[in-house]
């Protein structure tokens, strides 16, 4: 079995938001809708203050609460763990948005373009009537993965089969791959470092792992 996961190394993320921009550009999401975000969190109290950058987005949970509540079956889970939305089935009830503990979904209620009335190339290709009035979220760039697999490429290793945010990450903080493959980089990363998943108590089993600490500087 294959299960694609994302790994974010919180020690390496510098909060540059390049992944955010790459996602925005590649997926042509309208203004106000951001599938890949990087939180800029401040912790502690002065003078002992820390700053942490946390990439967030759809966690592609093994037990997705969004899929459970979806009344239309528009939200589905593939055998490789990727949670998808069928834009032709979704009625835009926003129930999945309420059910997601990761605040990862958006309803596109107004289509618009980043730079006025003229769409960018990506927007022209991606923004259409099918995405207006429905829920959207990070897809792990499922189109790239499928296209890459069809060409015999390996997601996570070959850039053409890897999510745009991972490809664009300047610090190597983001990694992607099949967690069920013992030889995959994500598997090795998780085996050799301490990691956690967000809101694990919810039983969602997110497919987004955060590496935080181990070893010495």
């Amino acid at each position: 079995m294959t299960r694609y996961v994302m790994v974010a190394d919180l020690r390496r993320c510098v909060g540059c938001q390049t992944c955010t921009a790459a996602c925005k550009e590649g997926n042509g999401t309208p203004p106000g809708v951001q599938w890949r975000r990087v939180l800029d969190l401040e912790t502690g109290t002065y003078p002992a203050v820390n700053r942490v950058f946390v990439p967030v987005g759809c966690q592609h949970c093994a037990n997705p609460p969004c899929m459970e509540v979806c009344p239309t079956t528009a939200t589905r889970q593939r055998t490789d763990g990727i949670v998808t939305i069928d834009y032709d089935l979704c009625i835009g009830c926003s129930y999945c948005i309420m059910a997601c503990p990761y605040d990862a979904r958006s309803l596109i209620d107004q289509t618009g373009y980043a730079f006025g009335d003229t769409p960018t190339t990506a927007e022209a290709a991606r923004t259409g009537r099918e995405t207006a009035g429905v829920a959207t979220k990070c897809s792990f760039c499922v189109g790239r993965i499928d296209a890459g697999l069809a060409r015999g490429l390996v997601p996570g290793l070959d850039p053409d089969a890897t999510p745009l945010c991972v490809n664009s990450c300047i610090s190597g903080a983001l990694s992607f791959g099949d967690i069920e493959d013992p030889a995959s980089p994500v598997n090795r990363l998780l085996a050799e470092n301490q990691s956690f998943r967000m809101h694990e108590s919810e039983g969602t089993e997110p497919g987004f792992h955060y590496i935080w600490d181990k070893g010495t500087l």
Binding site: D9, L10, R11, R12, L39, L41, E42, T43, G44, N50, V52, V54, P65, E68, V69, C70, P71, T72, T73, A74, L89, C90, I91, G92, C93, S94, Y95, I97, M98, A99, C100, P101, Y102, D103, L107, I108, G133, V134, A135, G156, L157, A173, S175, G177, P185, R188, L189, E192, N193, F196, M198, H199, E202, Y210, I211, W212, D213, G215, T216, L217
Partner: protein
Amino acid sequence: MTPSMTSRHQRNWDLRAAGNFIGGGTGSGLFVTAALAAAAGAPFRLALAIGLACVIAGLSLVWLEIGKPWRALNVFFHPHTSWMTREAIVAGILVPAGLIGAVAGSTAVTAVAAVLACGFLYCQALMLRAARGIPAWRQQEIVPLILSTGLAEGSGFYLLVGAQTSNWLVFALFAGLLREVAWLAYRAGLGRTPAAARSVAVFGTPPARFVRAAQLAGLVLIALALAAAVLAAPPAVILALAGAGGALAALAGWGLKVMLITRAAFTRALAIPVIPIRGRSTHARQS
């Protein structure tokens, strides 16, 4: 890190969504009250008709809110796990049952409709409970709160349109007290949930206090109406007290749902349980 750092106020479900819970609650409460009235030989058809109108109005408001209203029938596709689908399915049977009960004046059909109404209201309560992204709804005490609020609204509304005899005043008082207990349990539960800190704060704001005052005032007025009825006070006094109490019981329920859906609904904060030390190396980078 405080849990509220990345929590945000949800804006996808607005007054139209609240309207569904208002219509569903009052409507279901009226269905149940009408069934009891029918069994007791009291007037029930008007209450049933109003209840039906409330349910239909609530569902219509949701229809106006969804992004793709012309695909609304897709809502029936996922009864296996979705409480929204289940709500829609029950509504599909509830509406004709209520219509037949109101038009034909059938006690038996009204009883069936009341059972369906309970199911409908239960689905609404579970819809909120299943929303894991909103701590104020995720609270397990939300289920008895929604159920008892619907009953209190319906029984209160019945005092406006039906009889104001002692029996119905006792029923409305009972429903109001039930809601009171459910509310206190909900608030206590919410207070124990760190993720719901911002919602707790909302319930301390002036609008929420106003709603709370209306709820308590409604209870007091219904109790006074009951006392007046027991003491054989003039009918006009009983009518005024019961009517005002019933109206407040319903309005307080509506206000509570508006608060719950539109104001107290904050998303679950994105938070990390540990603080990473930045700058350490990553092992096993892809080669």
